[in-house]
Symmetry: C2
Subunit: 334 residues, 2 copies
DNA sequence: GCACACAATGTTATCGCTAACATCTCAGCG
DNA sequence: CGCTGAGATGTTAGCGATAACATTGTGTGC
């Protein structure tokens, strides 16, 4: 910066001001400075700037896994809305582990993020303690936790599964099986399972057809494995509700091999509405969610949180992102 | 830090040393300090540290898009190998645009990354100039560019497509069509197309069956659209080679609707070996690549680059990550 | 012609940490 | 018993920017 200042015949401070378009620099001087900056390829050091302004420009963002297009898309949308206001994501994946989450947060806090975005798969006590203490807005996304720390963006996975199950029951399915992960403490998968159980019980139906397999995120392969052994488990089921479209597609594939007809012998529904599901054959009924919507809404929320002055109206704690049931060929019409 | 120091009855410097396990602090003192740090929930400010040590701990990482599981997985693997040496990824996606790439790099350089990882879809002149000037190792991944800037990790997309095409010809296919993006300046898609053309010409076959549609990354929907109109274009083709598994799956879906038999009426091959392809019906022959391998190898390379002392053996410029042809039901056996 | 307001620029101190050098302490030794 | 040197700790001076205040210049109104 010194060099630029010298070349422009001004002080470092003026260069700094010119670079930040902070007003009070004459247009002539600014133009001259910017030209020199470009010519010298000078790039300001933002760590130094942050130290001084106490604004890191970072948004610490955690997702359960990138190995899932939904989370990846939501990050991409978030990134797009943050970059226009000069914020940079620092990304981590929890792998559905609360202790890993704690470690990551601890390490990201060193970067002094201005906002923390994370999923809810349960948190350790220390995580909550750290988050509360740092006095930085915390946004939980992709789920509405029982006791939110601060802000939330997303939908209730339990409610979504409940709605789908109820709709299945209305369509005449009674012996519905539910496929979800074997290892999940309090993930979105577990929430969906809870919604399924509640809907079944409300309808006076038995929710004992529980298939637990693998760990999150469930893959197509997991579904295929389940499908291959399916008749040994709950061969009497008339419908299978999967925690995600991926295993639903795997089931489809296994059933095709076995000559089981979907939806005539058995119906299948998934969760997520991945692109895949529309083009599967039969195409998959599913719960449609809006990953980019979650990312975008999170971005908007962050904009509001950081751009806010003290007399602005309060910001709502929860931003609901809608889901919707999408019916395709893998279920019979009512 | 001051507070911790006071509580422990030592100077700030000793606290700093204790936190970095920098040797010369007595075990007793360190233990005492760490206990106080934990109790006070003190988290050091890494921007300040970076400013002093001139080591940001950042790796600027670009991918074309997160909207593609391969890139997302490769980022995840890279992240896993970097976090154990205390490096943090700052992520961006170019959206296959060289000007966007330039903007992102410029903004990331403000963070003083220690390494820059980016894809090759062409670079603007200024991008190259900036990268060369900053004197930071640059790693291009997922492709071998014609003129690498520094290091590369990946495989030649052209060579991979050439090998697949040659194998298809050996299997008796002669009227092969190639499906790729309409808008691609110099993407991996274009490289694959070049490989296809070269192989066809080597075999004395015509490479005129070119279907260009949509923009990268190609989706299942794109493939479906192409499939729906296929017979109007190159109805005489005996095989379709797609730039990615996604459109290949879409084609499959369209052909199923039309009653076209794969592979008896026409063969289909994809590129990437997404999980989907193994469970499609018929399952898709494809070029298998190793996204996690690319991420991991990039991580290893970075470890070497940063951990290196001047008399270490030189580091190879290119790390080859193998691809392999995988034959499934969507092509006939030779 | 002079005080005054405001715009444009400069100066100084500081952000929170660490490198580099300085100091202190005490064991081991002749 | 004083000297030496290594280990443990302290002190000082930055890292590269910006906040806050200080200064200079310039036109305006009376």
């Amino acid at each position: 910066m010194e060099d630029v200042a010298r070349a422009a015949g001004v002080s470092r401070m003026t260069v700094s001001r010119a670079l930040r378009s902070d007003g009070s620099v004459s247009d002539k001087t600014r133009a001259r400075i910017l030209k020199i900056v470009k010519k010298m390829n000078y790039v300001p050091d933002q760590s130094a700037g942050s130290l001084s302004t106490k604004r890191s420009g970072f948004v610490a963002t955690l997702v359960p896994s990138l190995n899932n297009l939904h989370f990846a898309e939501s990050i991409q949308a978030l990134n797009e809305s943050l970059e226009i206001i000069g914020l940079q994501i620092i990304l981590g994946h929890t792998d559905y582990s609360t202790s890993r989450e704690e470690r990551l947060i601890e390490s990201m806090l060193k970067r002094r993020p201005e906002v923390i975005v994370l999923p809810f798969d349960g948190h350790t006590e220390r995580t909550v303690q750290l988050l509360k203490q740092v006095n930085v807005p915390v946004i939980e996304h992709w789920e509405i936790p029982p006791t939110p720390i601060d802000y939330t963006v997303g939908f209730s996975n339990k409610a979504a599964a409940l709605e789908m199950t109820t709709a299945l029951i209305e369509r005449g399915y009674k012996r519905i099986a539910f496929v979800s992960e074997a290892e999940d403490a309090w993930t979105r998968g577990a929430a969906r399972r809870a919604g399924f159980i509640e809907a079944m019980e409300q309808a006076g139906l038995s929710a004992h057809r529980m298939i637990r397999y693998g760990k999150p995120p469930m893959s197509i392969e997991d579904g295929y494995q389940i499908g291959s052994a399916f008749k040994h488990h709950f061969g009497d089921a008339d419908c299978i509700f999967c925690v995600s479209d991926a295993p639903a597609f795997g089931l489809l594939s296994a059933f095709k091999e076995q000559g089981l007809a979907v939806p005539d012998d058995i119906a299948i529904v998934g969760f997520g509405n991945f692109e895949l599901s529309r083009f599967a054959s039969p195409s998959l009924s599913t719960v449609e969610v809006d990953p980019r919507g979650i990312g975008r809404a999170t971005g908007e929320l962050i904009k509001n949180l950081l751009g806010r002055s003290s007399d602005d109206p309060p910001i709502p704690r929860h931003t609901a992102i809608d889901f919707k049931l999408t019916w395709r060929e893998s279920t019979k019409n009512p």
